[in-house]
Point group: C2
Chain length 190, copies 2
DNA sequence: CGATGATGGGACGTCTATGTCCCAAAATCA
DNA sequence: TGATTTTGGGACATAGACGTCCCATCATCG
Protein backbone atom coordinates (compact mmCIF):
# COMPACT_ATOMS: atom_id res chain seq x y z
CA UNK A 1 0.00 0.00 0.00
CA UNK A 2 1.16 3.45 -0.75
CA UNK A 3 -0.65 5.61 1.76
CA UNK A 4 -0.10 5.15 5.49
CA UNK A 5 -3.26 3.95 7.24
CA UNK A 6 -2.80 2.03 10.47
CA UNK A 7 -1.24 3.71 13.45
CA UNK A 8 2.21 2.23 13.76
CA UNK A 9 4.80 4.03 15.84
CA UNK A 10 6.73 4.93 12.72
CA UNK A 11 3.83 6.68 11.09
CA UNK A 12 3.05 8.59 14.22
CA UNK A 13 6.62 9.78 14.47
CA UNK A 14 6.92 10.91 10.85
CA UNK A 15 3.59 12.63 11.00
CA UNK A 16 4.66 14.42 14.12
CA UNK A 17 8.02 15.36 12.58
CA UNK A 18 6.29 16.92 9.59
CA UNK A 19 3.86 18.85 11.74
CA UNK A 20 6.57 20.20 14.00
CA UNK A 21 8.63 21.16 10.99
CA UNK A 22 5.68 22.97 9.49
CA UNK A 23 5.07 24.78 12.74
CA UNK A 24 8.67 25.88 13.08
CA UNK A 25 9.17 26.88 9.46
CA UNK A 26 5.83 28.56 8.86
CA UNK A 27 6.06 30.42 12.15
CA UNK A 28 9.12 32.15 10.73
CA UNK A 29 8.18 32.32 7.07
CA UNK A 30 4.65 31.75 5.98
CA UNK A 31 5.76 31.69 2.34
CA UNK A 32 7.94 28.67 2.79
CA UNK A 33 7.16 25.94 0.27
CA UNK A 34 6.19 22.37 1.01
CA UNK A 35 9.67 21.45 -0.14
CA UNK A 36 11.11 23.62 2.62
CA UNK A 37 8.89 21.90 5.18
CA UNK A 38 9.92 18.50 3.91
CA UNK A 39 13.58 19.47 4.16
CA UNK A 40 13.18 20.70 7.71
CA UNK A 41 11.40 17.46 8.61
CA UNK A 42 14.18 15.46 6.93
CA UNK A 43 11.58 13.79 4.77
CA UNK A 44 11.02 13.65 1.03
CA UNK A 45 8.32 15.73 -0.56
CA UNK A 46 6.65 12.48 -1.64
CA UNK A 47 6.32 11.34 1.96
CA UNK A 48 4.93 14.67 2.99
CA UNK A 49 2.23 14.34 0.34
CA UNK A 50 1.50 10.82 1.54
CA UNK A 51 0.61 12.16 4.96
CA UNK A 52 -1.04 15.37 3.82
CA UNK A 53 -2.62 15.20 0.36
CA UNK A 54 -2.48 18.93 -0.25
CA UNK A 55 -1.20 22.09 1.29
CA UNK A 56 -4.51 22.91 2.90
CA UNK A 57 -4.55 19.62 4.75
CA UNK A 58 -1.14 20.34 6.22
CA UNK A 59 -2.12 23.86 7.19
CA UNK A 60 -5.18 22.53 8.98
CA UNK A 61 -3.32 19.76 10.74
CA UNK A 62 -0.61 22.18 11.79
CA UNK A 63 -3.26 24.45 13.21
CA UNK A 64 -4.58 21.52 15.27
CA UNK A 65 -1.06 20.74 16.37
CA UNK A 66 -0.52 24.34 17.43
CA UNK A 67 -3.72 24.36 19.43
CA UNK A 68 -2.60 21.12 21.02
CA UNK A 69 0.74 22.68 21.96
CA UNK A 70 -1.28 25.56 23.28
CA UNK A 71 -3.21 23.33 25.64
CA UNK A 72 -0.09 21.44 26.62
CA UNK A 73 1.31 24.80 27.68
CA UNK A 74 -1.70 25.16 29.92
CA UNK A 75 -3.47 27.87 28.00
CA UNK A 76 -6.88 26.50 28.87
CA UNK A 77 -6.30 25.76 32.54
CA UNK A 78 -7.63 29.10 33.63
CA UNK A 79 -11.19 28.18 34.45
CA UNK A 80 -12.40 30.39 37.27
CA UNK A 81 -9.58 29.62 39.63
CA UNK A 82 -8.91 33.07 41.03
CA UNK A 83 -9.27 36.72 40.14
CA UNK A 84 -9.54 37.80 36.54
CA UNK A 85 -6.14 39.37 36.88
CA UNK A 86 -4.63 36.08 38.00
CA UNK A 87 -6.26 34.30 35.12
CA UNK A 88 -5.02 36.82 32.60
CA UNK A 89 -1.57 36.62 34.08
CA UNK A 90 -1.46 32.84 33.86
CA UNK A 91 -2.92 32.88 30.36
CA UNK A 92 -0.32 35.33 29.20
CA UNK A 93 2.62 33.45 30.68
CA UNK A 94 1.45 30.15 29.29
CA UNK A 95 0.78 31.54 25.86
CA UNK A 96 4.23 33.08 25.72
CA UNK A 97 5.70 29.73 26.66
CA UNK A 98 3.86 28.10 23.78
CA UNK A 99 6.25 29.91 21.47
CA UNK A 100 6.07 28.88 17.82
CA UNK A 101 2.49 27.76 18.24
CA UNK A 102 1.40 31.28 19.10
CA UNK A 103 3.31 32.81 16.27
CA UNK A 104 1.88 30.32 13.83
CA UNK A 105 -1.66 30.92 15.00
CA UNK A 106 -1.56 34.69 15.21
CA UNK A 107 1.03 36.20 12.95
CA UNK A 108 -0.93 36.28 9.71
CA UNK A 109 -4.67 36.79 9.81
CA UNK A 110 -4.98 35.32 6.32
CA UNK A 111 -3.45 32.00 7.28
CA UNK A 112 -6.68 30.15 7.76
CA UNK A 113 -8.94 32.09 5.50
CA UNK A 114 -11.37 34.74 6.57
CA UNK A 115 -13.32 32.63 9.00
CA UNK A 116 -10.39 32.63 11.40
CA UNK A 117 -10.48 36.36 11.99
CA UNK A 118 -14.02 36.11 13.25
CA UNK A 119 -13.38 32.84 15.01
CA UNK A 120 -11.66 32.41 18.34
CA UNK A 121 -8.36 30.85 19.25
CA UNK A 122 -7.79 28.39 22.07
CA UNK A 123 -11.29 28.96 23.19
CA UNK A 124 -13.06 32.18 22.30
CA UNK A 125 -12.62 35.90 21.88
CA UNK A 126 -15.93 36.23 23.63
CA UNK A 127 -14.52 34.36 26.56
CA UNK A 128 -11.42 36.52 26.49
CA UNK A 129 -13.53 39.61 26.34
CA UNK A 130 -15.51 38.55 29.38
CA UNK A 131 -12.28 37.95 31.23
CA UNK A 132 -11.09 41.45 30.42
CA UNK A 133 -14.38 43.00 31.40
CA UNK A 134 -14.21 41.10 34.67
CA UNK A 135 -10.69 42.39 35.28
CA UNK A 136 -11.95 45.88 34.65
CA UNK A 137 -14.73 45.39 37.18
CA UNK A 138 -12.14 44.17 39.66
CA UNK A 139 -10.13 47.31 39.09
CA UNK A 140 -7.11 45.44 37.75
CA UNK A 141 -7.49 46.98 34.32
CA UNK A 142 -8.46 50.52 33.42
CA UNK A 143 -12.21 50.69 32.90
CA UNK A 144 -12.06 53.53 30.41
CA UNK A 145 -10.41 51.60 27.58
CA UNK A 146 -12.08 49.43 24.99
CA UNK A 147 -11.74 45.74 25.90
CA UNK A 148 -10.80 45.11 22.28
CA UNK A 149 -7.77 47.31 22.71
CA UNK A 150 -6.76 45.38 25.79
CA UNK A 151 -7.14 42.11 23.92
CA UNK A 152 -5.03 43.41 21.05
CA UNK A 153 -2.32 44.48 23.44
CA UNK A 154 -2.52 41.14 25.16
CA UNK A 155 -1.95 39.15 21.99
CA UNK A 156 0.64 41.59 20.87
CA UNK A 157 2.68 41.04 24.01
CA UNK A 158 2.25 37.30 23.77
CA UNK A 159 3.70 37.60 20.32
CA UNK A 160 6.62 39.76 21.37
CA UNK A 161 7.42 37.44 24.25
CA UNK A 162 7.23 34.35 22.07
CA UNK A 163 9.49 35.96 19.51
CA UNK A 164 12.04 36.83 22.16
CA UNK A 165 12.21 33.21 23.20
CA UNK A 166 12.35 32.22 19.59
CA UNK A 167 15.22 34.57 18.89
CA UNK A 168 17.06 33.46 21.99
CA UNK A 169 16.93 36.95 23.46
CA UNK A 170 15.14 35.81 26.58
CA UNK A 171 14.91 32.52 28.49
CA UNK A 172 11.44 31.01 28.59
CA UNK A 173 10.49 31.95 32.11
CA UNK A 174 11.86 35.48 31.88
CA UNK A 175 9.81 36.11 28.75
CA UNK A 176 6.55 35.24 30.46
CA UNK A 177 7.50 37.31 33.48
CA UNK A 178 8.38 40.44 31.55
CA UNK A 179 5.42 40.11 29.19
CA UNK A 180 3.05 39.99 32.12
CA UNK A 181 4.69 42.90 33.85
CA UNK A 182 4.59 44.98 30.68
CA UNK A 183 0.99 44.09 30.04
CA UNK A 184 -0.25 45.27 33.39
CA UNK A 185 2.13 48.11 34.05
CA UNK A 186 3.77 49.14 30.78
CA UNK A 187 7.43 50.03 30.77
CA UNK A 188 7.10 52.27 33.82
CA UNK A 189 9.55 51.82 36.68
CA UNK A 190 8.88 49.84 39.85
CA UNK B 1 9.05 55.66 -26.63
CA UNK B 2 7.75 52.86 -24.49
CA UNK B 3 9.27 53.48 -21.12
CA UNK B 4 8.53 56.69 -19.21
CA UNK B 5 11.61 58.87 -18.85
CA UNK B 6 11.05 62.56 -18.38
CA UNK B 7 9.20 63.82 -15.36
CA UNK B 8 5.84 64.93 -16.65
CA UNK B 9 3.01 65.42 -14.21
CA UNK B 10 1.24 62.37 -15.56
CA UNK B 11 4.13 60.07 -14.91
CA UNK B 12 4.57 61.34 -11.42
CA UNK B 13 0.93 60.77 -10.66
CA UNK B 14 0.73 57.23 -11.98
CA UNK B 15 3.96 56.33 -10.28
CA UNK B 16 2.58 57.64 -7.04
CA UNK B 17 -0.72 55.81 -7.55
CA UNK B 18 1.11 52.54 -8.01
CA UNK B 19 3.27 53.06 -4.94
CA UNK B 20 0.33 53.95 -2.74
CA UNK B 21 -1.59 50.97 -4.03
CA UNK B 22 1.35 48.71 -3.27
CA UNK B 23 1.61 50.16 0.22
CA UNK B 24 -2.07 49.69 0.94
CA UNK B 25 -2.37 46.23 -0.54
CA UNK B 26 0.89 44.76 0.72
CA UNK B 27 0.33 46.18 4.18
CA UNK B 28 -2.73 43.94 4.39
CA UNK B 29 -1.56 40.97 2.36
CA UNK B 30 2.06 40.54 1.55
CA UNK B 31 1.22 37.70 -0.84
CA UNK B 32 -0.82 39.89 -3.12
CA UNK B 33 0.30 39.61 -6.74
CA UNK B 34 1.45 42.43 -8.99
CA UNK B 35 -1.88 42.05 -10.73
CA UNK B 36 -3.64 42.86 -7.48
CA UNK B 37 -1.49 45.94 -7.04
CA UNK B 38 -2.21 47.05 -10.59
CA UNK B 39 -5.95 46.59 -10.03
CA UNK B 40 -5.86 48.62 -6.83
CA UNK B 41 -3.94 51.35 -8.66
CA UNK B 42 -6.46 51.23 -11.51
CA UNK B 43 -3.63 50.60 -13.91
CA UNK B 44 -2.80 47.77 -16.28
CA UNK B 45 -0.13 45.28 -15.38
CA UNK B 46 1.81 46.47 -18.42
CA UNK B 47 1.94 49.98 -17.07
CA UNK B 48 3.06 48.76 -13.70
CA UNK B 49 5.95 46.94 -15.34
CA UNK B 50 6.83 50.07 -17.28
CA UNK B 51 7.39 51.93 -14.06
CA UNK B 52 8.89 49.08 -12.08
CA UNK B 53 10.74 46.49 -14.19
CA UNK B 54 10.41 43.71 -11.67
CA UNK B 55 8.81 42.94 -8.35
CA UNK B 56 11.93 43.74 -6.40
CA UNK B 57 12.06 47.24 -7.85
CA UNK B 58 8.52 47.90 -6.69
CA UNK B 59 9.21 46.49 -3.25
CA UNK B 60 12.20 48.77 -2.90
CA UNK B 61 10.41 51.84 -4.16
CA UNK B 62 7.49 51.12 -1.87
CA UNK B 63 9.89 50.88 1.02
CA UNK B 64 11.22 54.33 0.12
CA UNK B 65 7.69 55.60 -0.14
CA UNK B 66 6.86 54.20 3.26
CA UNK B 67 9.90 55.83 4.82
CA UNK B 68 8.85 59.06 3.15
CA UNK B 69 5.36 58.76 4.64
CA UNK B 70 7.09 58.07 7.89
CA UNK B 71 8.96 61.33 7.78
CA UNK B 72 5.89 63.19 6.61
CA UNK B 73 4.20 61.91 9.74
CA UNK B 74 6.98 63.56 11.71
CA UNK B 75 8.74 60.44 12.81
CA UNK B 76 12.15 62.05 12.56
CA UNK B 77 11.30 65.41 14.14
CA UNK B 78 12.34 64.29 17.58
CA UNK B 79 15.85 65.69 17.73
CA UNK B 80 16.70 66.59 21.32
CA UNK B 81 13.70 68.80 21.90
CA UNK B 82 12.76 67.73 25.39
CA UNK B 83 13.01 64.80 27.73
CA UNK B 84 13.54 61.32 26.39
CA UNK B 85 10.05 60.47 27.52
CA UNK B 86 8.60 63.31 25.51
CA UNK B 87 10.55 62.23 22.48
CA UNK B 88 9.43 58.64 22.80
CA UNK B 89 5.88 59.78 23.24
CA UNK B 90 5.96 61.95 20.13
CA UNK B 91 7.71 59.25 18.13
CA UNK B 92 5.11 56.71 19.11
CA UNK B 93 2.15 58.92 18.28
CA UNK B 94 3.60 59.92 14.94
CA UNK B 95 4.48 56.39 13.99
CA UNK B 96 0.99 55.20 14.80
CA UNK B 97 -0.40 57.95 12.62
CA UNK B 98 1.77 56.77 9.75
CA UNK B 99 -0.54 53.76 9.52
CA UNK B 100 0.00 51.56 6.48
CA UNK B 101 3.59 52.67 6.18
CA UNK B 102 4.41 51.20 9.56
CA UNK B 103 2.66 47.97 8.85
CA UNK B 104 4.39 47.64 5.53
CA UNK B 105 7.78 48.27 7.03
CA UNK B 106 7.48 46.09 10.10
CA UNK B 107 4.99 43.33 9.65
CA UNK B 108 7.17 40.80 7.91
CA UNK B 109 10.88 40.67 8.70
CA UNK B 110 11.55 38.82 5.46
CA UNK B 111 10.12 41.55 3.31
CA UNK B 112 13.39 43.19 2.44
CA UNK B 113 15.69 40.26 2.79
CA UNK B 114 17.92 39.56 5.74
CA UNK B 115 19.76 42.84 5.72
CA UNK B 116 16.67 44.65 6.99
CA UNK B 117 16.53 42.80 10.29
CA UNK B 118 19.97 44.07 11.17
CA UNK B 119 19.36 47.46 9.65
CA UNK B 120 17.42 50.27 11.21
CA UNK B 121 14.13 51.83 10.24
CA UNK B 122 13.48 55.52 9.93
CA UNK B 123 16.83 56.26 11.36
CA UNK B 124 18.54 53.71 13.57
CA UNK B 125 17.97 51.10 16.22
CA UNK B 126 21.09 52.42 17.82
CA UNK B 127 19.51 55.83 18.01
CA UNK B 128 16.33 54.32 19.38
CA UNK B 129 18.32 52.38 21.89
CA UNK B 130 20.05 55.50 23.11
CA UNK B 131 16.71 57.18 23.48
CA UNK B 132 15.44 54.33 25.63
CA UNK B 133 18.57 54.29 27.76
CA UNK B 134 18.20 58.00 28.25
CA UNK B 135 14.60 57.54 29.33
CA UNK B 136 15.75 54.92 31.79
CA UNK B 137 18.30 57.33 33.21
CA UNK B 138 15.56 59.92 33.54
CA UNK B 139 13.47 57.45 35.48
CA UNK B 140 10.67 57.44 32.92
CA UNK B 141 11.29 53.80 32.05
CA UNK B 142 12.19 50.94 34.35
CA UNK B 143 15.96 50.57 34.50
CA UNK B 144 15.89 46.85 35.18
CA UNK B 145 14.58 45.79 31.78
CA UNK B 146 16.57 45.16 28.62
CA UNK B 147 16.32 48.15 26.28
CA UNK B 148 15.73 45.66 23.45
CA UNK B 149 12.58 44.52 25.17
CA UNK B 150 11.39 48.08 25.46
CA UNK B 151 12.06 48.66 21.79
CA UNK B 152 10.16 45.52 20.84
CA UNK B 153 7.21 46.61 22.92
CA UNK B 154 7.40 50.05 21.37
CA UNK B 155 7.19 48.76 17.81
CA UNK B 156 4.60 46.27 18.81
CA UNK B 157 2.31 48.98 20.14
CA UNK B 158 2.94 51.12 17.09
CA UNK B 159 1.76 48.18 15.08
CA UNK B 160 -1.33 47.54 17.15
CA UNK B 161 -2.26 51.21 17.03
CA UNK B 162 -1.75 51.41 13.30
CA UNK B 163 -3.85 48.32 12.79
CA UNK B 164 -6.66 49.78 14.86
CA UNK B 165 -6.73 52.81 12.64
CA UNK B 166 -6.53 50.59 9.63
CA UNK B 167 -9.43 48.46 10.79
CA UNK B 168 -11.45 51.52 11.67
CA UNK B 169 -11.63 50.50 15.31
CA UNK B 170 -10.06 53.73 16.49
CA UNK B 171 -9.86 57.28 15.11
CA UNK B 172 -6.35 58.42 14.32
CA UNK B 173 -5.77 60.64 17.31
CA UNK B 174 -7.25 58.22 19.82
CA UNK B 175 -4.97 55.47 18.57
CA UNK B 176 -1.83 57.50 19.23
CA UNK B 177 -3.14 58.52 22.62
CA UNK B 178 -3.98 55.04 23.81
CA UNK B 179 -0.82 53.52 22.37
CA UNK B 180 1.29 55.99 24.28
CA UNK B 181 -0.60 55.46 27.47
CA UNK B 182 -0.33 51.70 27.16
CA UNK B 183 3.36 51.88 26.38
CA UNK B 184 4.25 53.83 29.48
CA UNK B 185 1.69 52.49 31.89
CA UNK B 186 0.30 49.21 30.54
CA UNK B 187 -3.37 48.49 30.93
CA UNK B 188 -3.40 49.49 34.57
CA UNK B 189 -6.05 51.93 35.79
CA UNK B 190 -5.45 55.57 36.39
C1' DC C 1 13.85 -15.49 5.17
C1' DG C 2 9.78 -13.70 2.90
C1' DA C 3 5.97 -10.41 3.04
C1' DT C 4 4.26 -6.14 4.04
C1' DG C 5 4.97 -1.37 5.07
C1' DA C 6 7.36 3.11 4.49
C1' DT C 7 10.42 6.07 2.12
C1' DG C 8 13.19 8.37 -1.47
C1' DG C 9 13.36 10.31 -5.63
C1' DG C 10 12.47 11.08 -10.34
C1' DA C 11 9.18 12.13 -14.22
C1' DC C 12 5.23 14.48 -15.52
C1' DG C 13 1.29 17.69 -16.13
C1' DT C 14 -0.85 21.89 -14.32
C1' DC C 15 -1.38 26.31 -12.56
C1' DT C 16 -0.11 30.86 -11.17
C1' DA C 17 2.92 34.75 -10.98
C1' DT C 18 6.20 37.03 -13.47
C1' DG C 19 8.44 39.37 -17.09
C1' DT C 20 8.77 40.66 -22.18
C1' DC C 21 6.98 42.19 -26.68
C1' DC C 22 4.07 44.32 -29.56
C1' DC C 23 0.40 47.10 -31.40
C1' DA C 24 -3.66 49.78 -31.34
C1' DA C 25 -6.27 53.27 -28.73
C1' DA C 26 -6.38 57.22 -25.78
C1' DA C 27 -4.46 61.22 -23.84
C1' DT C 28 -1.46 65.02 -23.97
C1' DC C 29 1.12 68.55 -25.97
C1' DA C 30 3.01 71.74 -29.54
C1' DT D 1 -4.65 69.23 -36.17
C1' DG D 2 -0.68 66.43 -36.08
C1' DA D 3 3.04 64.49 -33.41
C1' DT D 4 4.42 62.46 -29.22
C1' DT D 5 3.60 60.23 -24.96
C1' DT D 6 1.22 57.07 -22.17
C1' DT D 7 -1.75 53.41 -21.58
C1' DG D 8 -4.44 48.98 -22.19
C1' DG D 9 -4.43 44.49 -23.21
C1' DG D 10 -3.29 40.40 -25.54
C1' DA D 11 0.23 36.75 -26.81
C1' DC D 12 4.17 34.41 -25.20
C1' DA D 13 7.88 32.39 -22.64
C1' DT D 14 9.63 31.13 -18.11
C1' DA D 15 10.10 29.67 -13.42
C1' DG D 16 8.54 27.77 -9.20
C1' DA D 17 5.16 25.37 -6.45
C1' DC D 18 1.82 21.72 -6.36
C1' DG D 19 -0.10 17.39 -6.87
C1' DT D 20 0.13 12.65 -8.97
C1' DC D 21 2.36 8.31 -10.40
C1' DC D 22 5.54 4.91 -10.37
C1' DC D 23 9.26 2.05 -8.94
C1' DA D 24 13.40 0.81 -6.55
C1' DT D 25 15.20 0.49 -1.90
C1' DC D 26 15.24 -0.01 2.95
C1' DA D 27 13.09 -1.21 7.30
C1' DT D 28 10.10 -3.89 9.96
C1' DC D 29 7.59 -7.71 11.40
C1' DG D 30 5.82 -12.33 10.96
Amino acid sequence: MSTPQADSGVRHRTRRAILDAALAVWARDWNASLGDIADQAAVSRSTLHRYFPDRQALVEATKERALEAFEEAGCDATSGSGTAREELDALLRNAVAAGDAVIYLYSDPHRFGDEWAAEDPGSDHTEMRELVVRAQAEGAIAADVDPDWVISVFYSLVYVGAESINAGTLPRHRAGEISSRTFFGGVAPG
